[in-house]
């Protein structure tokens, strides 16, 4: 009797659950997994999309959509702001798939990833290597165009002037694609940037012989006023100290004043360089909208640039 009750209890407790478990069982197919990952990608949930694409690659390694999944994983990483991981993922695509649309795009977006990481040097190397490999004139033109864009972006940094190089790359684009890419307008914009108002650093340094004169020349009026007052005050203090026989105090003040006086000349020269760069950046920002983006919503793996780049 006891045994019967135990058997009945066992059946009551576990049998219906097993039946329900059978009903709830779900087998995820490659289509389902890919479609889910793709929907996340399309809705711009890039963090989740890259994970789901990786899951797809792991569980369905022989699926013909693997190259697309690899590419979209890298793109999702790029859009999620994980530029280092994206660059590595694009590198794997380039090494694995020698000639495909994904490889071609991978070169361009890997280069963009390096730019996002603040490394224009490597961004250029990627494209220059690709330039050596490709024989397609349209692709070559696109490479020249992106190289020009990198040079324009790099010219915004202090101490770099790569506008000539940008102009050179734009002039290398074939006439067929030049019109399509609007290179004439871009070359004009570069010319306009090169002709931006400039201050002569040597002249600025010479003006600084009168404390604050260099800053005044560079349109830094507050700096000019403070420099003039500070230097005049210290010079007067040094003069008064020596005049009253306080030679030690006069020496200390003269020493401090020497630093501020030479600092005024140094700062004036730097101010002229900074002024020239600031003027260039102002024109570059006005002429070029350099934000690059990828048309994810239309599944078009083409880099698009806001006009004129």
């Amino acid at each position: 009797m006891k045994q019967c009750i135990l058997v009945l209890a066992f059946l009551t407790l576990f049998f219906p659950q097993n039946l329900l478990a059978d009903k709830a069982k779900l087998i995820i197919t490659a289509d389902m997994q890919f479609s889910y990952a793709d929907s996340l990608y399309t809705t711009r949930d890039h963090g989740a999309a890259q994970v789901e694409f990786k899951r797809f690659i792991h569980f369905f390694p022989t699926d013909p959509r693997i190259p697309e999944a690899n590419f979209k994983t890298a793109m999702a990483l790029y859009h999620a702001g994980l530029f280092h991981d994206a660059a590595k993922a694009f590198d794997q695509i380039i090494r694995r798939e020698k000639e495909s649309l994904y490889t071609l795009e991978s070169y361009f977006i890997q280069s963009q990833s390096f730019m996002k990481m603040g490394n224009p040097g490597y961004a250029q190397i990627v494209l220059q290597n690709f330039l050596k490999l490709t024989e397609d004139p349209a692709t070559q033109d696109r490479i020249y165009h992106q190289l020009a864009q990198i040079q324009v972006q790099a010219s915004k940094n202090l101490g770099t002037d790569s506008l000539d190089q940008a102009e050179k790359y734009l002039s290398m684009i074939s006439p067929v694609n030049a019109e399509k890419l609007g290179t004439d307008q871009q070359i004009k914009s570069i010319q306009k940037t090169k002709n931006a108002p400039k201050k002569n650093p040597v002249l600025s340094g010479l003006f600084a012989i009168i404390p604050g004169g260099g800053f005044l020349y560079c349109e830094r009026y507050h700096d000019a006023f403070v420099t003039f007052c500070l230097n005049a005050g210290l010079m007067y203090a040094a003069y008064e100290s020596f005049d009253r026989g306080n030679n030690a105090l006069g020496g200390v003040i003269t020493f401090v004043e020497t630093g501020f006086y030479t600092g005024n000349i140094y700062g004036s020269v730097t101010a002229a360089h900074k002024y020239n760069k600031a003027q260039q950046i102002k024109i570059l920002n006005r002429e070029f909208n350099l934000a690059a983006k990828v048309d994810v919503m239309n599944n078009a793996y083409l880099l698009t640039f806001n006009h004129p780049f």
Binding site: F215, H222, F260, T270
Partner: protein, 128 residues
């Protein structure tokens, strides 16, 4: 701030020795911001009492330490004096800003003031 540092700097100079540009750059890359005893004293005691009011990044005292470390005492002294004059004035309109603890600060590192004469030594990792 200007007057305090003006008095501290002559003392500061004693703590640094000139070195070659390459050595200085490598040292800067490895150990910035460098402090010496005088700078530590200024930052730990005077600046604390005086108030953390520098609106630039790095602060004037950090900038001075970096300039001395990178360019030796002569150029470091000149660059530091130049920075003290420019601090928080017209530079704000030219240099980029960064928000630190919710407050806007003007980014003005040593690199942004020596780019026209000091070339960063190339490393093996730099592209040609």
């Amino acid at each position: 701030m200007v007057l305090t540092l003006s008095v501290i700097f002559p003392l500061l100079m004693a703590g640094f020795s000139p070195a070659t540009a390459q050595d200085q750059f490598q040292a800067q890359a490895q150990a910035l911001p460098h402090k010496n005893y005088f700078m530590e004293f200024y930052q730990d005691h005077i600046s604390v009492a005086d108030g953390d009011r520098c609106t630039m990044v790095p602060s004037c005292s950090q900038y001075a330490a970096q300039a001395f470390k990178k360019h030796g005492w002569v150029m470091g002294w000149i660059m530091s004096c130049d920075r003290l004059v420019r601090c928080g004035r017209d530079e704000v309109n030219i240099s980029p800003s960064r928000y630190i603890n919710g407050k806007p600060h003007t980014l003005d590192p040593v690199d942004a003031n020596d780019f026209w004469w000091f070339n960063k030594p190339k490393t093996k990792m730099d592209p040609k």
